[in-house]
């Protein structure tokens, strides 16, 4: 059987089980929208700062929703795999002719599928609320693509943690760390407007800033090659790193001969 078919089978199972758990599906859809509503009103005054790149804080903030959705994806992918390890379902899969790479890629299916639904919903809500996508329809497609890649990269980190620890607690410990990284980024202000030097330096060194800025550039600027290159480049690099770490951890965890 081809690798692609194996990936599809595992991804189908992952997506079905994710979508059948309302408690897993609803929070990633609702919470980022709530935060978007609260922040776009509460922090609207920031648009009056000299040099602020747009007069709509909603347009400025909406890319962060994609990152927040991706954070949930990391939890879902990791927790599901940790449960599979714990219940022995992974052993069941290991006894079939399934390749390890199919497990890794397929296991992200639920999280990535949900990520695409989330991204489409956030984008739709933004458009209904009056956000103009400066890069047009092509840009909107690219936003969905980059949001899905970010989701995949974070989900791969969740898989790595699940394979390393074999426990849902281990995966959940990753969530606050990723959450911390998202908050010490340029989520609320452009980096050049952050006055506290150490915060600005940390946000500049933080890859999450460039993921947000890549998405943001498509919404508020149009086509910014540098922002897109950094956004896509760092996201793909994180995805490759996380998948490499996961593949190594899988070899240890699934020690079939």
């Amino acid at each position: 059987m081809t690798l692609a078919r194996q990936v599809l089978l595992i991804a189908w199972r992952s997506l079905v089980r994710t979508l059948r758990q309302p408690g897993t599906v609803i929070p990633p859809l609702i919470f980022p929208l709530m935060l978007m509503a609260v922040n776009s009103n509460g922090l609207r005054a920031a648009t009056h700062l000299p040099g602020f790149p747009t007069d709509s804080f909603l347009a400025f903030f909406i890319p962060f929703s994609f990152i927040q959705g991706a954070l949930f994806a990391s939890g879902i992918a990791g927790t599901d795999l940790a449960k599979d390890i714990d219940t022995g379902f992974m052993n069941r899969l290991a006894l079939t002719p399934m390749r390890g790479s199919a497990l890794l890629l397929g296991q992200m299916g639920g999280a990535v599928g949900l990520g695409v639904i989330q991204a489409a919903l956030y984008l739709l809500v933004g458009l209904v609320a009056g956000v103009d996508i400066e890069s047009g329809i092509g840009g909107a497609v690219l936003i969905l693509l980059l949001a899905t890649l970010v989701c995949s990269a974070f989900a791969a980190l969740g898989l790595w943690m699940a394979l390393r620890t074999g426990s849902t607690e281990g995966v959940q410990s990753l969530f606050p760390l990723l959450f911390f990284f998202t908050f010490i980024s340029s989520m609320n202000l452009p980096r050049n407007l952050i006055e506290v030097a150490w915060f600005r330096d940390v946000a500049t060194a933080n890859p999450v800033s460039y993921m947000i800025e890549g998405l943001r550039s498509l919404v508020i600027e149009g086509w910014n090659a540098q922002a897109l290159a950094l956004g896509f480049g760092l996201t793909i690099a994180l995805l490759v790193l996380a998948m490499t770490l996961s593949a190594r951890a899988l070899r240890v965890r699934m020690a079939r001969t």
Binding site: R13, R17, G88, R92, L93, L95, T96, A255
Partner: protein
């Protein structure tokens, strides 16, 4: 052999299981049963030693071993959010089945394990027995020559246990499937297995047919409780004609029969001496007696030991 840090979970065991045989692997928790199964199904490489399953080396030919075996490991490893049918379809698809052949196999297996009526319900609504039956169906998806069942009836009610025994027995007798069954239940090994291997602390301590193993231990014991306690000594004197005195409950006398008569002879002798019995018990040797004889502990006692925190 399999070591985990300083622990020898399985410490040099030799097994030979013939095609079509049901082999019961009996032992308390922590004896090394599951570790042995995990090595034989290729999920855990042995630290040293060699084994072949279906003629294939478990270390060098893992994929060939896996294609020849099916396994239902401890605790039914199922996804609570998928239906029974979806589980079988996923397993069949991963084994390369497609189209009409897959559909037919799914229907056959669900019929066989009696889950047709519940096939489209999510597994989280299944009882323990239904989960175990689905687990067995999944192990059989690709028509394996050998199946490994790791404590398949643990936690099941007597009715579900008996239904599973029936199905396992049918697999071996009607289809010639070799069954490697681990269990901590004496009755399960006794009823189901053609041969039994008793494992304790990583070693095989006894192996043979249940009948032969019990015969090794000796003949049955007869215990008599006299109706009048003052006749206890006279009762012991009569029983002594049939065998050696052995441990009995307070107020009772017991002998292990030495072959000079069976239970009816004992009853006739008691009657002839005018002794009336309040109770007479015949105790046939069990696999627990075999375990006791080989390890100095009863299986139940060993179980409690294993369950106690370190």
């Amino acid at each position: 052999m399999r070591e985990f840090k300083d622990v020898h979970a399985v410490d040099g065991i030799d097994l030979r299981i013939d095609p079509g045989e049901i082999y019961g692997f009996l032992g308390p928790n922590g004896a090394g049963k599951s570790t042995t199964v995990h090595m034989l199904v290729t999920l855990l490489p042995p630290t040293s030693g060699r084994a072949t399953v279906a003629g294939y080396d478990i270390v060098k030919e893992g994929p060939k071993v896996r294609s020849a075996i099916g396994a239902a490991l401890q605790e039914a490893a199922l996804d609570p959010f998928l239906t029974g049918r979806e589980h079988v379809r996923l397993a069949a698809s991963l084994h390369g089945m497609r189209g009409a052949a897959r559909k037919q196999r799914i229907a056959e297996l669900l019929e066989r394990v009696g889950l047709v009526h519940a096939a489209d319900r999510k597994v989280r609504t299944y009882s323990g027995g239904m989960k175990r039956r689905l687990d067995l169906a999944l192990a059989l998806v690709h028509d394996p020559q050998i199946i490994f069942l790791d404590e398949p009836t643990t936690g099941l009610d007597p009715q579900s246990r008996s239904a599973l025994w029936e199905e396992v027995g049918r697999l071996a007798k009607d289809e010639g499937v070799t069954v490697f069954l681990t269990t901590q239940y004496l009755e399960e090994a006794d009823v189901l297995a053609d041969r039994v291997g008793i494992i304790d602390k990583g070693h095989i301590v006894a192996e043979g047919t249940p009948t032969a193993l019990k015969a090794e231990i000796g003949r049955p014991t007869v215990e008599v409780v006299p109706e009048h306690p003052e006749e206890h000594d006279r009762l012991r004197g009569v029983l002594a004609r049939f065998g050696a005195d052995t441990a009995a409950r307070p107020g009772a006398a017991a002998v292990q029969l030495n072959g000079h008569g069976d239970l009816p002879d004992v009853i006739r002798a008691l009657d002839g001496e005018g002794l009336r019995a309040a109770a007479i018990n015949l105790h046939q040797p069990t696999l627990d007696d075999v375990f006791l004889a080989k390890t100095g502990r009863s299986l139940e006692g060993a179980q409690q030991e294993a369950d106690e925190p370190a």
